[in-house]
């Protein structure tokens, strides 16, 4: 990914989230403190029990000390539960908050951003990246306690016997360092394996989707070869990760064992010579055992922190943007009107230097329908996109009912422009909610009426659950024509002043087109409509045709007249290509 990442901003984002949760973070840290104290106390108590109670053969003191251990363990457990609760719920809070922010932001960002960004990228921001952040946040209170424990244990041991403590503990910072190294080296290796797995699944997906082509060309063996080399690569990369684990994981046990050896040999010697007690000796052993996991975890936190910071920087890259088309404060209400459209000397380009519309002017009186016709890339879809202000013009004005679209309150503007796209996008929800998408408070009557007008009510009534049938990716699959008619119902339910049909009939076959055309004819009556199409039968529905080329209007007139008089028009519609 070539995305520029500001790691400081990423770190700032995480800190900001932590600050917002300071109460529960503090509670977690406090509980961690209690936990540390209790945890450290038990080995000391064990040592005392061995030296005092057992050494002095005092059975009643033995009972008292044992009971103290039980109570301290209870305190330790309780603190551990509290710490865990705050640490984890806090991390989920951060994850959920950031996710809500991201969601809101993505919805607000203008289409120029979405044109450049895939859904997959955004999803991975909202899932994988947030997960990295959550994984870091959750270990902060836990690892703080671990750090305290390590320091506390070291101090206790120092008071018992400084030299022995130093010798015994020297391995532990090394474990932290090795652990950091291990996880740092492991993450590119795992990333490679992840990449292999995603390549693998890509090949499988491709093989399933393209099975007809593969079998038709008899290329099965070639595909198996592709898979073989991928499976081998996965094997090699996985073994690289295995090699790292082979070298490092036994070290995590070997180093503490060497410390134990120091205590056994040197500590044992000190006991025999009376410098320390047997109880001290056991305390040392217990501390060393207790610290193995915490120091390892501290090391793990280093690369985890790096990953989370990178992830947060990626999240920040989405959050920091400002929508290019802002919901203007103080936008005015739309003046009354029937949808009179004016493009006044409009110029527009997606990229500077590549004008898509130049000096485009067009007037569509209220209630009239026009068809925009022209070769691919002539700017017809762009004209449609300027009306709901998906983009702003570079110069000139787009005016609906005498108001510049930029001066009108954005939501209101969009509620007055009904759009039917080339590809119908339905949400995984009921048909009712899909139709009412733009006006949630519509009554059942209104919804049914829109469906009737869009010629959709018949097939809806035949569906198993009628208007309650769930459609979309997760639901009942509809034909292209049915989906298209739902889109039309959705667009007219908001009672827009202007209806835009962007290539609404191109992706369906001719028979379905006929069904849709009937629907269109009815909804266009008396409504300002802009049709974009290269199907003659659809174009013929419009009152007037606007022939476009290279971002300008070439010719305006009725379909019949242009067909007769304008050779360029006939050419664009493919009528001059001689039949074979």
């Amino acid at each position: 990914m070539s995305e520029e990442l500001d790691l400081r901003a990423g770190a700032r984002l995480i800190l900001q989230q932590l600050r917002a949760q300071w109460v529960s973070l503090g509670a977690g840290l406090l509980a961690g403190l209690v936990w540390t104290a209790a945890r450290l106390a038990i080995p000391v108590l064990t040592g005392i029990t061995i030296d005092k109670a057992i050494g002095n053969r005092d059975k009643s003191q033995l009972l008292v000390l044992a009971l103290i251990v039980v109570v301290v363990a209870a305190v330790q457990g309780l603190a551990s539960g509290v710490r865990r609760y705050f640490a984890m719920s806090n991390s989920y809070r951060v994850e959920s908050d950031l996710r809500a922010d991201l969601y809101d932001q993505v919805n607000q960002l203008s289409l120029d951003y979405h044109d450049r960004t895939s859904t997959g990228q955004l999803m991975s921001r909202a899932s994988a990246d947030l997960h990295e952040i959550q994984q870091l946040v959750v270990v902060i209170p836990i690892n703080s306690a671990f750090l305290l424990i390590a320091i506390g244990a070291f101090i206790v041991l120092l008071t018992i016997h400084p030299l022995l403590a130093l010798l015994a503990m020297v391995a532990y910072p090394v474990i932290t360092w090795i652990s950091a190294r291990f996880f740092r080296n492991l993450s590119p290796a795992s990333a490679r394996v992840q990449q292999d797995l995603s390549d693998l699944s890509h090949v499988v997906e491709e093989n399933i989707a393209g099975v007809r082509t593969i079998r038709s060309f008899g290329r099965e063996a070639g595909e198996v070869q592709k898979m073989e080399s991928l499976a081998r690569r996965t094997f090699t990369d996985s073994m690289e990760a295995v090699r790292l684990r082979t070298i490092y994981t036994p070290l995590f046990f070997w180093l503490p064992s060497m410390s134990q050896l120091v205590i056994l040999a040197f500590g044992g010697y000190l006991v025999i010579d009376g410098h320390i007690t047997v109880g001290n000796f056991v305390t040392f052993f217990q501390y060393l055992n207790m610290l193995i996991f915490p120091v390892q975890s501290l090391g793990e936190m280093v690369p985890s922190g790096q990953r989370a910071t990178t992830a947060a920087a990626r999240v920040w890259n989405v959050l920091r943007r400002r929508p290019t088309i802002a919901k203007s404060e103080g936008g005015v209400s739309m003046p009354l009107g029937g949808g009179d459209l004016r493009f006044e000397n409009v110029s527009f380009s997606y990229q500077p230097g590549y004008p898509v519309l130049s000096d485009f002017s067009l007037h569509v009186p209220a209630g009239e329908s026009v068809a925009l016709v022209g070769p691919t890339g002539c700017g017809k879809t762009t004209v449609a996109k300027l009306l709901p202000r998906f983009y702003d013009v570079d110069s000139g004005r787009v005016v609906i009912d005498s108001a510049d679209v930029r001066s009108v309150e954005l939501d209101e503007l969009r509620r007055n422009v009904g759009l039917v796209f080339q590809e119908t996008f339905l949400f995984s929800d009921t048909i009712r909610n899909n139709i009412a998408y733009g006006r949630v408070d519509s009554s059942q009557d209104e919804i049914e009426q829109a469906a009737r007008l869009a010629q959709a009510s018949e097939f809806i009534d035949e569906l198993p659950d009628g208007y309650d049938t769930i459609v979309g990716d997760q639901g009942f699959s509809l034909s292209g024509g049915q989906r298209q008619r739902l889109a039309i119902a959705r667009a007219i339910l908001i009672r827009p002043r202007v209806l835009i049909l962007d290539d609404a009939t191109s992706s369906v076959d001719a028979r379905m087109e006929e069904e849709i055309r009937t629907a269109l004819q009815r909804v266009m009556e008396g409504r300002t409509t802009v049709i974009i199409s290269h199907r003659m039968s659809t174009i013929a529905l419009a009152d007037r045709v606007v022939l476009m080329d290279e971002g300008r209007v070439v010719e305006v007139g009725t379909h019949e007249r242009l067909l007769k008089e304008c050779t360029r028009y006939a050419e664009v519609l493919g009528q001059l290509v001689p039949a074979s």
């Binding site: 061995i50 969601y103 499988v204 996985s238 759009l419 949400f427 949630v440 087109e513 290269h534």
Partner: protein
């Protein structure tokens, strides 16, 4: 603590069919058998690492009792040396066990992937339709990931934990039966609590799974439908909806936290209780003289060897269960016999192939209802045939039987007079090629895609073919020309351009018989003209069958076959049929009146 991996594992759908069945057991055994030296080494190293680990506290105990307490430095030195030797031994054994088990496991995974994928290539086409294709996909991806989990961590952890647990109990009893019985009092509550925790957290994670899925689906749809969202000014409303779902997901997560925030403290307390019990009863034993101080210390050290394996086993339980279910499914699929098999006495096709295709009394059904019935037709070499009919009339099925994607239920399909079942698949594929409706592109360069059917064609041959077809201009206008990278998804090429490349692909492969499924969606007229011209060239000089969606195609064919409800209802040259006054004539009249609007 619930680590990332465990959470992910918990978030995967659970499987009920988690007992290994005979297929998967036999399958895995067979695949692993040739690696027996590796597996032996692995077993030895696992057992050695457990045994050596367990021996260490015993040495410490000995050092305390005979060395430290008795003040015998010689014994202390001896024990230290033994401890050192054991430590080194554990290092070697652990490294060996990590490496060898993972190596064996990765071998298994690699071989399984290749075997399964090769098996895919032989499976009947019905496996690739609709819902089934999802099944294939998850066998090869999700299931393999789950098995890899087991191979990478799970298996070793389970075996080691069990060995440690058993070994520890044996050692404790051999040290002191009385103290063992007292200590092991904490085990039943530990196991009980673990079981209760497992059950409760399973339920809680089920809920998290549902909730996070809702969150993801909502986000996915809002993001990919962003144009609709913004066009209908739904941002505000959607944000409210999302917040509700997002909070529900948060609550579900916190529920899992609550459960573990109750369980973990209890386990920690049990650990403390264990120490207290050992201290009290062990202490009394030491005072009474029937237990040594070293034994008490050893018990305290061994306590970890009991607690950790039990918790670890509980964590890996999911991995083992999921992997077993995955193995069952994978081997279940491997045991599916491919439906279409080449006859053992399949003959090579006599060359040169003439390209005569015939159907004799063919009946075919995907399920119960017949899709084709009583189909008898003979297509002469070099003939250009258009099949016409309504959706569902059986046109595509005819094409699929010609390609032998399926075998007929009754009757025969013959190429040059030989039953397709007796023709070697390789020969058949080289002879007949089908160009599907949507130009399908594989990930790779445009060159790779065009040479797909004949990878050994030269660069000159390819370019000449593209020039002849008239597709070279558009390819060369791309920034990287023939080296432009395309993908079967998200390619920058338009539908029409993809079709052009797929036509070039068939042209380079140069089959004797060509089957073409005409595209239904309309393109801009310019591209459409290019495609029509290219198809005309492609069909020249070979037997061709076109599933026609436009009657303009039928007009130019040598022969039109009209289908209705799985039967051939009319058959003859266009001019004859159009004049005959039957079904076709009616269709044709309708089409003539509005050529742009009507098609079949």
């Amino acid at each position: 603590m619930m680590r990332g991996g465990a959470r992910e594992a918990a978030l995967r759908p659970r499987d009920t069919d988690a007992r290994p069945n005979s297929h998967s057991l036999r399958g895995v055994t067979k695949m692993l058998a040739p690696r027996w030296p590796l597996l032996t080494l692995s077993t030895v190293s696992i057992v050695a690492s457990a045994a050596l680990s367990l021996a260490r506290p015993l040495v410490v105990q000995k050092a305390i009792d005979s060395g430290i307490v008795d003040g015998d430095k010689g014994t202390l030195v001896t024990m230290s040396i033994i401890f050192f030797a054991l430590t080194m031994g554990v290092y070697v054994a652990q490294a060996a066990s990590v490496y060898t088990t993972a190596l064996a496991g990765q071998h298994l995974l690699r071989d399984l992937r290749i075997r399964l994928f090769s098996h895919f290539q032989k499976l009947s086409m019905s496996f690739f339709d609709g819902e089934n294709s999802g099944r294939l996909m998850s066998r090869m991806t999700n299931d393999m990931v789950v098995i890899a989990d087991l191979v990478n961590n799970g298996f070793l952890m389970v075996v080691q934990s069990m060995l440690l647990l058993i070994g520890t109990v044996i050692i404790l009893f051999s040290l002191s039966v009385k103290l063992s019985l007292v200590t092991l009092v904490v085990i039943p509550p530990l196991i009980g609590a673990t079981l209760v925790f497992r059950a409760a957290s399973e339920r809680a994670y089920d809920k998290v799974r549902d909730r996070i899925a809702e969150v993801m689906i909502h986000m996915q749809e809002s993001f990919s439908g962003i144009r609709v969202v913004q066009a209908f000014a739904r941002e505000q409303h959607n944000a409210e909806q999302f917040n509700a779902i997002n909070e529900m997901n948060y609550d579900a997560n916190v529920d899992t936290v609550k459960i573990s925030a109750l369980y973990i403290p209890f386990v920690e307390w049990l650990g403390g209780l264990g120490i207290a019990l050992i201290l009290y009863f062990g202490g009394r034993g030491v005072i009474g003289g029937d237990v040594s101080l070293g034994t008490v210390a050893a018990f305290i050290f061994y306590l970890d060897f009991i607690f950790q394996p039990i918790q670890r086993l509980s964590q890996t339980y999911d991995t083992v269960q999921a992997a077993t279910a995955a193995l069952n499914k994978v081997f279940g699929l491997l045991n599916e016999e491919p439906e279409l098999r080449e006859d053992t006495d399949a003959r090579p096709l006599p060359q040169p192939v003439r390209g005569e295709l015939s159907f004799e009394d063919v009946m075919f059904a995907y399920g119960e209802t017949p899709v084709l019935e009583d189909v008898n037709v003979r297509i002469e070499p070099g003939q250009r045939v258009a099949i016409v009919g309504a959706t569902g009339a059986g046109k595509s099925t005819m094409a699929k039987l010609m390609m032998r994607f399926y075998d007929p239920r009754h009757g025969r399909v013959l190429l040059d007079g030989i039953d397709l079942r007796n023709v070697r698949t390789d020969d058949l594929r080289r002879t007949m090629i089908m160009v599907p409706q949507e130009g399908f592109l594989f990930s790779g360069t445009i060159r790779d895609n065009i040479l797909f059917g004949r990878p050994d064609a030269t660069e000159d041959e390819m370019r000449a073919a593209c020039r002849e077809l008239g597709v070279d201009a558009f390819i060369e206008s791309l920034p990287d020309g023939y080296d432009s990278v395309v993908s079967f998804r998200g390619s920058r090429l338009s539908g029409g351009e993809k079709q052009l490349i797929s036509i070039a692909r068939a042209f380079v492969a140069d089959p004797a018989v060509l089957i073409l499924d005409e595209a239904t969606s309309s393109l801009d007229p310019e591209t459409e003209g290019l495609i029509e011209a290219a198809i005309r060239l492609l069909l020249q000089g070979r037997t061709s069958v076109v599933i026609a969606h436009r009657l303009s195609t039928a007009e130019t064919a040598d022969r039109v076959i009209v289908m209705e409800h799985g039967r051939i209802v009319e058959d003859g040259p266009h001019t004859v049929l159009a004049a005959a006054g039957g079904y076709y004539a009616a269709l044709y009249r309708q089409w003539r009146s509005a050529p742009d609007a009507h098609s079949v």
